[in-house]
Amino acid sequence: MRINVKLMGWMREYLSPGITHFDEQGFELVEGMTLGALSDQFGFRAATPFMAMRNGDHVKDVALDETVLQDGDEVVFVPPLKGG
């Protein structure tokens, strides 16, 4: 299945060092993958607090591992951005 993943602000800076290429559109996933597992694949949960959104709704941290992604989902990761 394919989803779209958007990294807001400087979330890209928190990607695991091993990830050298990241394509936001049409991200290929295995069936049944959770949002928590996807976060871990990127290395986010070990690196920083963040906000995850799925199809415009905030997914709380405690619900990340229960949120199974579906084909066509739009996922957004927001870093702990401050100020302005």
């Binding site: 807001m8 602000g9 400087w10 905030h58 702990p80 951005l81 302005g84």
Partner: protein, 608 residues
């Protein structure tokens, strides 16, 4: 050391400049800049004074780290009773002026009285004098900075001045330094104008000595290296604060059309990507980033406007490079007024710098006026024939000029949204706290920010609390009172140190501030003392406001944020839960249920 232990007192009524020693007991208790100047103001004026009367004082203050090599050590603060709010005002600015003033040998300048004629203050190290400003009055910041430098034949003079907005008493007039940095909020420029003081021009060559040079240099190295490797710092350098636009736009925390909406369909025309990309004419808005004195972040933007854009096509004087959009200006001159035009927002921002007015309060007031126009409370009769609908970019540009000069309907805009909406019978349409307009965050999606706005001592402000990480993680309110209270204290201390708050957003740890202070000044500084100093300053500001006549009833948000559910975004259907958070906030502060510090709290902080 760190402090220069020296104050310049300027009596504008008498035309005198005198030096006096800094009260070192107060310096140890209130540190410098925002905190120390507030202590002097509290001691020297009646908080009930009319902000624009000669009895109000204006204090220009540096901190102990201002003028040092500590990263961002160039900050200064204007402290007074605010013309916009009637509350304590402490407006912080960067640029080069603060470091120059400190190196001229001054911790504070206390400006009192009112000059019978327009003057400017000229300082060259120990030589301080008031000089006639008759030929500068009526001219813009951009005209008088080069004029003063030419007069003294010294291009290295640093200048903080007011434009026409401050002269005519625009309630949100600011003090602009180095052409496009500003002590922006609460109307500190209107106070300066009321004193007939046009500018402060400084040349300082004395340097600043730390208390323990080796310890200080070691601490600066640790703090600077933390910034160097931090992802947030890298983002600030690369994209500036405007990168927030995509975040709030996506989450639904972007105030749009006077907070009628929380997402703006044109936000992608106002973001970091658009700022860097060629437009249809091949023009790129952003030229480069810029840093203030001693700063290793460089969040500032230097921009120029497309010469073919309607705003400047017949005005070559606005086609040069100058201070570009930050996130707050992009909101206030963009989504707040429903205008999705980066060039128009940049032009209106240029005018705010040139005439010396706060773009946040100008945009917020114009947004309120646009809503008044759309509901028919004002018409083209009041606006001088201008169709003041949301989204009208031409009206935005015209009104920025008129509000800056105090002409036509612009003079009414200069009242600020609170007085303007009250005048036309719709006070609920002012999106402000204590009379000061919202910054670029909606208090429904960001519950902590809503509490931060409501409890801010200077009115709605994004720089008084640091609930961002919490608000972008959860909408649940349980942790908000503690997050807001503790960050208010920390920021009060940072602002009083002479460093920039954005270090906190760029990888600095709280202990880094205390570490650097411990090298720069005597007295023994650690994080616990630093935080307690911040708490003391916050409570002192609160005492000023209570003495000025403000009450717990002023710790509130507009009806729209408390009663109208957010129409979209992560907080769709929700309102601010301020009333549930406020009692816990007061309790954590050691305040009574009606928002007054208890005797025990005051005693603990040395304020009794």
């Amino acid at each position: 050391m760190g402090w220069q232990k020296n104050i310049l007192r300027v009596n504008l009524t008498a035309g005198t400049c005198t030096n006096e020693p800094l009260n070192m007991l107060w310096a140890q208790q209130y540190l410098g800049s925002r905190g120390l100047a507030t202590k002097y103001l509290m001691e020297e004026i009646d908080p009930k004074v009319d902000p624009l009367s000669p009895d109000n004082k204006l204090i220009i203050a540096t901190g102990p780290l201002t003028g040092t090599i500590a990263s961002t050590g160039g900050r200064w603060t204007a402290v007074t009773k605010g013309a916009l709010t009637g509350a304590i005002a402490a407006s912080n600015s960067g640029g080069q002026f603060g470091g120059e003033l400190k190196m001229a040998g001054y911790d504070l300048i206390i400006l009192e009285g009112r000059s019978p004629k327009p003057v400017y203050l000229y300082i060259e190290n120990d030589n301080a004098q008031l000089l006639p400003a008759d030929d500068l009055w009526g001219r813009s910041v951009w005209e008088i900075e080069p004029a003063i430098k030419n007069t003294h034949n010294d291009p290295l003079i640093r200048i903080a001045s007011i434009g026409q907005a401050g002269e005519y008493g625009n309630r949100y007039a600011c003090i602009v330094n180095d052409l496009h940095r500003a002590a922006g909020r609460s109307g500190v420029g209107a106070v300066m104008g009321s004193k007939q003081l046009k500018a402060i021009a400084v040349r300082g060559t004395k340097g600043v000595r730390p208390h323990d040079a080796a310890k200080f240099m070691s601490a600066v190295k640790i703090a600077s290296e933390a910034l160097a490797v931090n992802p947030g710092r890298k983002g600030m350098t690369a994209d500036g604060t405007i990168s927030m636009m995509d975040i709030t736009g996506t989450v639904g925390a972007l105030p749009t059309r006077n907070n009628r909406q929380v997402q703006f369909e044109g936000s992608d025309k106002l973001n970091a990507k658009t700022m860097k990309a060629p437009n249809e004419n091949g023009h790129v808005n952003l030229i480069q980033n810029a840093a203030c004195f001693a700063c290793t972040i460089g969040c500032g933007r230097i921009s120029h406007i497309d010469p073919k854009h309607f705003s400047v096509k017949d005005k070559p004087q606005y086609q040069h490079a100058s201070g570009g959009l930050e996130y707050e200006t992009a909101y206030a001159l963009g989504s707040a007024v429903g205008v999705a035009d980066m060039e128009a927002a940049t032009y209106a921002g240029f005018l705010c710098n040139e005439y010396g007015m706060d773009p946040i309060s100008f945009g917020g007031t114009l947004a309120a006026a646009m809503e008044l126009f759309e509901i028919g409370a004002i018409t083209e009769k009041e606006t001088g024939g201008v169709k003041l609908n949301f989204g009208n970019a031409e009206a935005l540009c015209l009104m920025a000029e008129l509000a800056g000069k105090g002409e036509g309907f612009g003079r009414e805009l200069g009242l600020g949204s609170k007085l303007l909406t009250a005048k036309y019978g719709h006070p609920d349409l002012s999106m402000a706290v204590k009379g000061q307009e919202f910054a670029a965050y909606d208090g429904r999606a960001m519950q902590g920010m809503g509490l931060g706005y409501a409890t801010s001592n200077r009115g709605a402000c994004h720089l008084r609390a640091n609930p961002y990480a919490s608000d972008f993680t959860t909408q649940e309110i349980a942790e908000k009172p503690e997050v807001v209270r503790s960050s208010q204290d920390l920021i009060s201390a940072i602002d009083s140190s002479g460093l920039c708050l954005f270090t906190l957003h760029s990888g600095a740890l709280p202990e880094h501030y205390a570490l650097q202070l411990d090298g720069a000044i005597e007295g023994g500084w650690d994080l616990a003392r630093f935080n307690e100093t911040g708490e003391r300053i916050w409570n002192l500001e609160r005492q000023f406001n209570l003495a000025a006549g403000l009450t717990a009833a002023d710790d509130t948000l507009p009806k729209r944020i408390l009663e109208e559910p957010a129409p979209s975004g992560v907080a769709k259907g929700k309102v601010s839960e301020l009333k549930a958070m406020l009692p816990e906030y007061y309790a954590q502060r050691g305040w009574t249920p009606d928002g007054k510090p208890t005797a025990e709290t005051l005693k603990r902080l040395g304020l009794a």
